[in-house]
Every structure is written in structure tokens, then in C-alpha cells.
């Protein structure tokens, strides 16, 4: 019988996600880029009229106004909630469709063509269709958000499902597992990287689409505020709202990356394989 002669074990895989984020915050390129951008902005705004390029102080004042005024803050939150609701709904349906298509060839034969067709329809067409079909602004926005982001979730889930290694499925099958255990232990973890990819892509797509959808008929939301600013030739407001939304997206994407790094913490970092091979001679096998 084997007896253990192993060297002191290394700790479990460290939280790679936190390290990645720390590394990113330590990276000097981001502050440098911000400083350069602000400098260029300050110079250009000095030589151009305010209705073309507003000054930095005016934009800062406007941002302060947006963030401290209930009505404008409500517009920002409304837009973010619309994005969240649209994406979550599209994700839930897309995940179900992707899994169904991956596990049933009959479903993939009948569902793949229409989903690819929906993906090929220009987003603006959905906006126009939504305006014609629905009087309710919220329904219009969610309809557009849902149809624009659904194909990404469904197709990414489908592709990820098909990429689950057959060896792992066969291994699991040799133990005769129940369906839920097989899904929870093999399928779901295997498709998780694909799901994160779909979320990151759709997050950017969703935020762009929600603005377009809000431009048509909405009275609350960042899109409505931008439309109002455009009608008043208020470039300061346009820049402020745009900046605010972009920063919100960066924060959400950062949170998403943190979550992804935590969920995929098992992935090897550079040097892990070398570590295993270096340790091997001192360990059994």
C-alpha cells in the first residue's frame, strides 16, 4: 500500500481574480491616459466655442448637478434598470434556448435558423418595429433590448455546450449520474466561461441599444436626457451624460471581471504547470 512521502503541500489555488484586479489598479497606464485625455480636452476647449467642446469645469458642475438632483439621478437609474432587466430576461431565455439546442439536435435544427435571423436584423429596425407595435415606452425598450441581446446569449451557450469535452461526459456517464448532478458538475462549469463572454459583449451592446430605444418616446432615462440636450444645443449636458454612462459601464464591467475571475479561479496562471512539474520528482507519481 502506498504511503505518503509528499513534501509540504502548497496552498490551494489563490484567488487569481483579486490579483488581476490589483495588478490592473497598479498599472500606471490608466492614470497616464486619463491625464493626457484631460489635458487634450482642456486645450481644445480653450480654443473652441463651448457649444462644440465644453470646458472641464462646466462638465464637472453639470455632473454634480445630475448626481445631486433627484429627477436626473432617476433618469440614470432608470436606464441602468432597463439594461439590467433586458439583459437578465435575454440571458434567462437565451441560456434555456442554448441548452435546448445543444442537447437536442431537433431543437437546434428548428431554433438555430430563426435565432441567427434575429441576430442579422439591424438593431435600428427593431427600434422602429417597437415604436409601431407598442405604445408603452417601457415595453418598447425591453423589446429592443431583449431581441438585440438574446441571440448572443443563446448562440454562445449553444457553442459552449457543444464544446464540453466528450471525455468528461463519458467519465461522468460511467458513474451513471442523475441529470441534475451531470448538469451541475460538468455542463454548467464547462459553459460558464462562454456565459461570461456573452455577458461582457452584451453589456456593451445593451447600453448602446437602450440609448437608441430611449431616444424614441421615452421621457425618463439617459436617452431622453440626451435628446433634450441635443434639442437645446446643450453640449455640456451631452458630454456629462455620456461620461456618466460610460463610467457606470466601466464600473459594471469591472465588477463583472471580478466575478468572472472568482468563478474561473481554477484556471492555471502562468507558471502553475512549471510548479507541478518541478514538484513532481519529490512527490509520488
Amino acid at each position: 500500500m502506498a504511503t505518503s512521502t509528499v513534501t509540504p503541500p502548497p496552498k490551494a489555488a489563490p484567488a487569481t481574480g483579486t490579483r488581476t484586479v490589483r495588478r490592473r489598479f497598479r498599472d500606471p497606464s490608466i492614470p497616464i491616459l486619463i491625464v493626457v485625455l484631460l489635458a487634450v480636452w482642456a486645450i481644445v476647449s480653450h480654443f473652441t466655442p463651448a457649444y462644440d467642446v465644453p470646458s472641464i469645469p462646466s462638465v464637472v458642475r453639470e455632473l454634480g448637478h445630475i448626481l445631486t438632483t433627484g429627477k436626473t439621478l432617476q433618469s440614470l437609474l432608470t436606464t441602468l434598470i432597463r439594461v439590467a432587466v433586458g439583459l437578465v430576461a435575454a440571458f434567462a431565455v437565451g441560456l434555456a434556448l442554448g441548452l435546448l439546442m445543444g442537447s437536442r439536435s431537433l431543437a437546434s435544427r428548428y431554433l438555430l435558423p430563426p435565432i441567427r435571423f434575429v441576430q442579422g436584423v439591424p438593431s435600428l429596425s427593431w427600434v422602429i418595429i417597437a415604436v409601431i407595435w407598442f405604445a408603452n415606452v417601457e415595453v418598447r425598450v425591453w423589446f429592443v433590448m431583449f431581441l438585440v441581446t438574446l441571440p448572443g446569449f443563446a448562440l454562445q451557450t449553444y457553442d459552449s455546450y457543444r464544446a464540453v469535452p466528450a471525455e468528461l461526459r463519458d467519465m461522468a456517464r460511467s458513474f451513471r449520474p442523475g441529470r441534475w448532478a451531470l448538469f451541475r458538475e460538468v455542463t454548467l462549469p464547462a459553459i460558464t466561461p462562454g456565459i461570461f463572454t456573452a455577458w461582457k459583449v452584451n453589456l456593451g451592446l445593451g447600453i448602446r441599444m437602450v440609448l437608441i430605444a430611449e431616444l424614441v418616446g421615452a421621457t425618463v432615462g439617459v436617452g431622453a436626457q440626451l435628446l433634450s440636450a441635443q434639442q437645446l444645443f446643450d453640449m455640456t449636458s451631452v458630454v456629462s451624460w455620456t461620461l456618466l454612462l460610460a463610467v457606470c459601464m466601466l464600473i459594471i464591467q469591472g465588477a463583472m471581471e471580478l466575478l468572472e475571475a472568482w468563478a474561473l479561479r481554477y484556471r492555471p496562471r502562468t507558471g502553475d504547470h512549471a510548479q507541478a512539474s518541478v514538484m513532481a520528482p519529490s512527490q509520488k507519481g
Partner: protein, 263 residues
């Protein structure tokens, strides 16, 4: 099918045929394996070893003939074999998102073993296989041999009656493979398991089992050789020649044309 012990064989093939589109994998294959036996199945590429393995596992039915494992049809009664059969594959096939300990637990979860037993059993088996202290390592942090040990622990932790090995030691270096083979034999014998080891290695076939089933294309039994424990070198040489002769298709009897594997 005759049996050394007088009991019905635990694994029994009777006139088994398996035909895939454009390929006759097994032709009239018959053999029996008794409870507690450790049997190696050896043959050249394309002789039907993997098909035999998959039939025992119940992954597909035979085209003709009968396959019985513990008196049951492994394909038609697939679920019945839960916790009764476990497999060690050529590559460890560990879940990359699970640690060594969790990988062993996952096997038990799949096999329907109560959750309260997972941790204790998994730690025990990892320890028995020399992996104490490596429980929290992910597969990529383990060497190839260590990964295969986790795979063995995952199979034995289920406490199956039958252990199937599909060239489980062939991807390892010879020293590691030799150590693992010895441990595997000991675990099978002390646990009273029935073991079936598919291999293309003559060394493995001669040193591992109580019997060697030699398959020859197109998937029929060419020889059934009993191997005594600790055979002397002269007998080993004799057995080696016999296995080689069984593996070699008659058309390629000339050694220059023979496709036998390197020893």
C-alpha cells in the same frame, strides 16, 4: 461458459458480434471472467479491445450475442450498475474546476453515495494513494501520475464490484506506471474487486493479471492464458511468446510484417 470457481462468471460474453457502419469490430467473441479475478485484455490496434470495454460498460448494445455483467445486461439495465462499476480511463479525466478532493467527491455524487460520506471517503482514498496534503490542489497543479492517482481514488471511493481500466497506465512514464500498477493490483486484490484492464502493453499484461485474454482482429479471442503469481523469468518468456503469437494475425506471421507493439 466454464468457471474456475464453479460460480457463474461475473462478466460473460457469449457469441458477441459488434458491427459498426463499414466495420466489423467483434466477431463471435466469447469469454468469462470470475468474481475477484484480475484480467488483462491485450491485442493490437483494431482488435476490438475498446469495443469490448464499452460493451462491459454498457455504452452500447452488442449487434448479436449476449453480454452479461453480474447477471444483468449492462446496456439495457444501465442504471442498475450505479456504484457497481467504476472506470479508470487512459487520461485521468479530472474536472479542471474541481480540486483533487472535490474530484473524488464528484464520483461519489454521480454514483449516488450519501453526501455525509463523501469527505471522509475521499480523504481516506487520497491518503491511501499517497496524495495526503494535495487535497486542495487543482488538476493543473498535479503531475500526470498524481492526476491518475486521483482518478484511481475516484474509482475506488465508489467501492464498486468491478473496476475497468482502459489503458490507464499507458500515458505515464514507466517508473510511475510500474508503481501505480502495483498499487492498483494490491487495491483490487485486498478489496476483493473484479478487475478488467485493457492494455496494449505486453509488460502490463504479463505482470498485472491472473489471466490474459488475447484478442486478434477482427475482434475474436485468440488465446486465454492463465498467469501464475510471481512467474519465473523462463515462464514469463514463454508466456510472452504465446501472447505475441496470439496477437499476431496469421497473414502477418512473418516478424518483419508483424504489427506487434514494442515491449
Amino acid at each position: 461458459m466454464s468457471s474456475v470457481t464453479g460460480e457463474a462468471p461475473v462478466i460473460e460474453f457469449a457469441g458477441v458480434e459488434k458491427v459498426f457502419p463499414g466495420h466489423h469490430a467483434l466477431r463471435d467473441l466469447s469469454f468469462g471472467i470470475d468474481r475477484g479475478e484480475l484480467v488483462t485484455v491485450v491485442g493490437v490496434t483494431g482488435c476490438g479491445k475498446s469495443t469490448t470495454f464499452n460493451l462491459i460498460l454498457g455504452l452500447f448494445p452488442p449487434s448479436d450475442g449476449t453480454v452479461r455483467v453480474a447477471g444483468h445486461d449492462p446496456h439495457a439495465e444501465f442504471e442498475w450498475f450505479r456504484r457497481r462499476i467504476a472506470v479508470v480511463f487512459q487520461d485521468a479525466r479530472l474536472l479542471p474546476w474541481r480540486t483533487a478532493l472535490q474530484n473524488v467527491c464528484v464520483g461519489m455524487r454521480f454514483a449516488g453515495i450519501p453526501k455525509e460520506q463523501w469527505q471522509e471517503r475521499a480523504r481516506d482514498w487520497l491518503s491511501r494513494l499517497g496524495l495526503a496534503g494535495r487535497e486542495d490542489a487543482y488538476p493543473h497543479q498535479l503531475s500526470g501520475g498524481q492526476r491518475q492517482r486521483v482518478s484511481l481514488a475516484r474509482a475506488f471511493a465508489v467501492d464498486p464490484e468491478i473496476i475497468l481500466c482502459d489503458e490507464s497506465f499507458s500515458a505515464l512514464d514507466e517508473i510511475t506506471a510500474q508503481g501505480l500498477r502495483q498499487e492498483f493490483v494490491e487495491l483490487v486484490r485486498t478489496g476483493g474487486k473484479t478487475g478488467v484492464v485493457i492494455t496494449h502493453s505486453l509488460t502490463e499484461a504479463l505482470t498485472l493479471g491472473d489471466r490474459i485474454l488475447v484478442l486478434r482482429p477482427p475482434g475474436h479471442l485468440a488465446d486465454d492464458i492463465a498467469v501464475p503469481r510471481d512467474p519465473d523469468p523462463a515462464l514469463l518468456d514463454e508466456l510472452r511468446e504465446r501472447v505475441l503469437a496470439g496477437m499476431t494475425p496469421p497473414a502477418a506471421a512473418d516478424p518483419a510484417e508483424s504489427a506487434v507493439p514494442a515491449l
